[in-house]
């Protein structure tokens, strides 16, 4: 067991707070410092593109821990404070205000930053969505009744399109792929998701690249596509993926790639661990390095990283979760477990993807689809089938443990 008197956590969100909880629960009594760039009390992100953007939740409902729970963790909580550097030889984290924090254990949970287009972001009305403040700014602009173009039909863009449409706005969703969610879950489920958008009156422009935006007096007026189409827009949301927030680690000696490169125990260097969206590690069952952008992973991985930091490398356990994610659009819940690669063969095992109800109620759609690669089940997706999916999830757990 390493001697640990001062543990520093960088990134004050889902993974960081879980790590803090776990350290205290596992009996760490030393000094704990948490550094977070955002000023707000740590909050959860999944509700942002759903309940908060829709206005169904007051923003504070997404708060991750009540003040009393945070106080119980006995941390030096440094919010509104960016980590700007790390020296793993000296074991020091440098902060934007010039402070230097020595540590004997460090957990990196800095998550992601939205990827941007090379153009358009200087125009008013063009948004990205990762933080609560960005959500509230976007929501305020949506209340004026704008025409909306969402660029990117992955989980985030699809949810934003659905929520925005739910506010009664004119919405166009653009992506280079043939269907929404194609990269995330393949075009078969993606096709159903596309139908759902169309049924709700969202205009889809698939297989189209965005080549530019036009503006007038510094405000966006349109999005231009590669076929020359001009989509008039008052508000544009760019949801084209995210990049790991590792810029502050340049020159730290840590191996960086698509995130902080860790070993199978989430360790990036002696006494340095990473967890959540920023962590990249070799998953024993996946046959290679992975990085997951899923809320349950932030929690699970932070638990493992915290325990492994405390126990030391000799006792550390490998991190081999069955990934689990979800997305909600128009009251439909899509959940995935395991891996759902776009080139997998799909087998529907439970329910009916094309219910022929007289009233044509798309809510009646309910099924579980298995994802097979080379005849082996690697993942499962539930469409309005949370409970049924859980059964398949336990099978995947057994498979990956074997």
């Amino acid at each position: 067991m390493p001697t640990l008197d001062h543990i520093v956590l960088v990134g004050a969100s889902a993974a960081g707070l879980t790590a803090a909880d776990a350290l205290r629960r596992e009996g760490f009594t030393g000094t704990l410092t948490m550094v977070g760039e955002e000023l707000r009390t740590p909050y959860d992100r999944p509700p942002l593109s759903k309940q908060v953007l829709a206005g169904d939740w007051e923003p504070h409902r997404s708060t991750l821990r009540q003040d009393t729970d945070i106080q119980r963790l006995r941390m030096n909580l440094r919010l509104g404070c960016r980590a700007t550097g790390l020296d793993t030889a000296e074991r020091v984290v440098t902060l934007a205000d010039g402070d230097r924090l020595g540590y004997d254990g460090l957990i990196i949970t800095t998550g992601l930053r939205p990827r941007r287009l090379p153009f358009g972001h200087e125009l008013a009305g063009v948004h990205v969505l990762r933080t609560l403040d960005e959500t509230l700014t976007l929501r305020a602009q949506l209340l004026a009744g704008p025409r909306v173009v969402v660029i990117g039909a992955g989980f985030l863009g699809s949810e934003i399109a659905a929520t925005t449409r739910g506010l009664g706005l004119d919405v166009t969703l653009v992506d280079v792929e043939p269907t929404p969610l194609a990269r995330q879950v393949g075009t078969w489920v993606g096709g159903l998701a596309g139908d759902m958008h169309r049924d709700h009156g969202v205009r889809l422009r698939m297989r189209r690249h965005v080549t530019g935006m036009t503006g007038d007096n510094g405000r966006v007026t349109a999005v231009v596509l590669d076929d020359g189409t001009r989509l008039p827009a008052d508000v544009v949301v760019v949801a084209i993926g995210s990049v790991p927030a590792t810029e502050w680690l340049a020159g730290s000696g840590l191996a960086l790639g698509d995130g902080v490169l860790c070993d199978v125990t989430c360790r990036a260097a002696p006494r340095v661990y990473a967890a959540g969206d920023v962590a990249n590690w070799p998953h024993p069952a996946a046959g290679g390095r992975v990085r997951l952008e899923q809320r349950t992973n932030a929690t699970q991985q932070a638990l493992t990283a915290a325990k492994n930091l405390l126990s030391g490398p000799a006792e550390a356990v490998p991190y081999a979760p069955v990934p689990f994610g979800w997305t909600d659009h128009y009251g439909t819940k899509i959940q995935t477990c395991g891996w759902c690669p776009s080139d997998a063969t799909i087998e529907v095992v439970d329910g009916d993807p094309q219910p022929r109800k007289a009233d044509g109620d798309p809510q009646a759609r309910k099924f579980v689809a298995l994802y097979k690669v080379d005849g082996r089940v690697v993942g499962a997706l539930g469409w309005n089938s949370a409970r049924a999916l859980r059964e398949y999830r336990s099978h995947l757990t057994e498979n990956s443990a074997a």
């Binding site: 959860d44 999944p46 929690t299 699970q300 638990l303 979800w326 959940q335 409970r387 999916l389």
Partner: protein, 64 residues
Amino acid sequence: MKILIDEGKCVGAGQCVLAAADVFDQRDEDGIVILLDAVPPHELLPQVQDAAARCPALAIEVVE
């Protein structure tokens, strides 16, 4: 020990059922958590705490 759940926050991830199947279940329609036992026996405390820690929506509160 007493368990409080916030159905409005639950996202139907089922992490709680995987952690403590004697205490939690999910509704068939939407996967929202069902509390099978609001005052479970003390020996289940570690499992219940694990469920609360793993719940991605922080919908489970354990009052000891």
